[in-house]
């Protein structure tokens, strides 16, 4: 079973704004924006989710096939890691 992925618990605040998510990373004083698709994954990561659950969320919410959703989830996770927004 794959690991449960979560957002970093400290110094990270976010809000939904017109379907997107605006997040403030207090550690780097940087604002981030996630598009509508990204915001679905963000809310799942806030609760904690495995990769397969993230993919399922996308497939359930959007008109997208599983292989493409899996690829896009990996890309977003990589971007979140790069910005230091995921809990290690």
């Amino acid at each position: 079973m794959s690991e449960v992925l979560r957002l970093r618990p400290d110094a990270l605040e976010w809000r939904a704004l017109e379907g997107e998510v605006i997040a403030l990373d207090g550690a780097s004083s940087t604002y981030f924006a996630l598009n509508r698709t990204g915001s679905v994954l963000w809310s799942a990561l806030a609760e904690g989710a495995r990769r397969d659950q993230l993919v399922a969320r996308l497939v359930e919410a959007f008109d997208v096939d599983e292989s493409r959703a899996a690829r896009d989830v990996e890309e977003l996770l990589a971007a979140l890691r790069r910005h230091g927004l995921l809990a290690e």
Binding site: A11, R15, L17, G19, Y31, L58, A61, L76
Partner: protein, 465 residues
């Protein structure tokens, strides 16, 4: 309908079946508005619908003028080809998707419906639903897919909603930082408003805030200042700069990143000693986690009282405090308000509570049910009546004893210290140039407000006599 030859597509009751389906789905989304705040001029929750007169009176007048102009110009009716296309693009909720270049596509149970502009027209349900983390759509609706993306976002001044959200996020993080630092220093503190009001009275609806309202016991005030200084905050005005002036219920501390902390010694409208205000509010305080830090917050009745006192402090022009109070009235029951009234009596804030409640619809009835007295101190009367700022200063001057003290007070208002000027006038906070302009314009500012302030003071004195 594009491509339909200028005529409506056939369907039951003259409406295409899939248009009807899309319309129903849209209505379902919008129906949750009964639980949502008003974004524009819509009727209040529980109302009969429609738009408030104040919001449409100008647009109706404009439409009337345009219609009259059209008649006078005698150009005749708008050609159907123009009218139909325009209505299609701007008004209709569900329309066949004939041109992918024109319409943003959303699939509704296999039906293509809705231009982007139309989906944007009903953001209320979706926004609150996302905030609640409950999803944004009824089951069965699959939205158009775009690759999930995260990007660094520059917050531009031209985006007020984004700016407000960004500031709220910053305030949340600052709140966590301040309360963690106070706890480390062994200082008891209470978060009075901001996220407390948002969570207690707004539920899932968004409510932005701009500063951190911290109440500390009098004995911990000096140590709290030291903690704030260590975190990079500086007082807007030092004690010396406002010496002799009417004491404020809170002093503002600001940081270079724009975050500010209102350090409260008491709550506005409370005439009891600060120590008693602290002990009454801190009694049965609750805990809330703000950005991962646990903060003491007032219990429900105390929160309701704080909101009402804040409304009284800002008067009829304080749109946000009034909106908070309206929400509190809608959410809190009479038992809570009775407890708030009892608390107000213990901190000698009954008059301000009554004054605040009377500013909003339904408040006067609650004042009657709570049997709150009508008598008001002059300061409460001035504030709740929205008197010009100088009125309170003139009242304070009248009560200042001794000719020398009065003269010193007048001099310090005409040529104030920088901190005092920043406290009174927003212009003075806009850097050196703002401060310079505020100094230059101070005599004119005083002259402009003097007569209305004197009138307001005279009226208030008559009313409280």
């Amino acid at each position: 309908v594009p491509g339909a030859g200028g005529t409506s597509a056939p369907g039951g009751a003259g409406v295409p079946a899939r248009s009807h389906a899309a319309s129903v789905a849209s209505s379902e989304l919008v129906s949750t508005r009964r639980d949502s705040p008003r974004y524009g001029g819509e009727s209040a929750p529980g109302g009969h619908g429609g738009i408030s007169r104040a919001c449409v009176i100008f647009t109706i007048a404009r439409a009337y003028c345009l219609a009259s102009a059209a008649v006078v110009s005698a150009k005749g009716a708008t050609p159907p080809s123009v009218w139909h296309e325009t209505q299609c693009a701007l008004r209709m909720v569900a329309t066949d998707c004939q041109s992918p270049a024109t319409w943003c596509v959303a699939r509704v149970d296999g039906v293509v419906a809705g231009p982007a502009a139309n989906r944007k027209a009903a953001p209320i349900a979706t926004t609150s639903a996302i905030a609640a983390g409950t999803g944004t759509r009824p089951r069965g609706i699959a939205r158009s897919y775009r690759r999930p993306r995260i990007s660094i976002r520059a917050v531009k001044l031209a985006e007020p909603a984004l700016r407000a959200t960004a500031q709220t996020l910053a305030v949340d993080l600052a709140t966590a930082e301040v309360f963690a630092a106070l706890a480390d220093a062994g200082i008891e503190a209470m978060l009075l408003r901001g996220p407390v009001v948002a969570r207690r009275f707004y539920g899932d609806a968004p409510r932005d805030y701009v500063d951190v309202d911290v109440l500390v016991p009098p004995a911990a005030r000096a140590r709290t200042r030291a903690v704030l200084q260590r975190l990079g905050y500086r007082p807007l005005a030092s004690d010396d700069e406002v010496a002799g002036h009417r004491p404020l219920h809170a002093r503002e501390w600001v940081r270079a990143d724009g975050v500010s902390v209102d350090l409260h010694r008491t709550v506005s409208g409370a005439r009891a000693p600060d120590e008693r205000v602290w002990s009454e509010l801190a009694a049965r305080a609750e805990r809330a986690s703000i950005a991962g830090t646990v903060c003491a917050v007032p219990r429900a009745a105390a929160s309701a009282l704080v909101v009402a006192l804040h409304a009284a402090h800002n008067g009829p022009r304080g749109a946000k405090p009034l909106a908070d109070l309206e929400r509190a009235l809608a959410v809190a029951d009479d038992v809570t308000w009775r407890e708030a009234a009892a608390l107000a009596e213990r901190i000698d804030a009954t008059a301000a509570l009554a004054a605040g409640l009377q500013l909003v619809a339904g408040g006067a009835e609650l004042v009657g049910r709570l049997e709150l007295p009508e008598a008001q101190p002059i300061e409460t009367r001035l504030r709740s009546a929205g008197a010009p700022p100088l009125a309170l200063g003139i009242e304070w001057l009248a009560h200042t004893r001794g000719v020398r003290a009065k003269a010193a007070l007048v001099a310090s208002v005409v040529v104030p210290r920088p901190g005092a000027l920043r406290t009174w006038r927003a212009l003075a906070r806009r850097g050196r140039w703002g401060l310079a302009f505020a100094y230059v314009s101070q005599p004119f500012w005083l002259a402009r407000h003097a007569v209305p302030s004197l009138r307001a003071l005279r009226r208030a004195r008559r009313e409280v006599a």
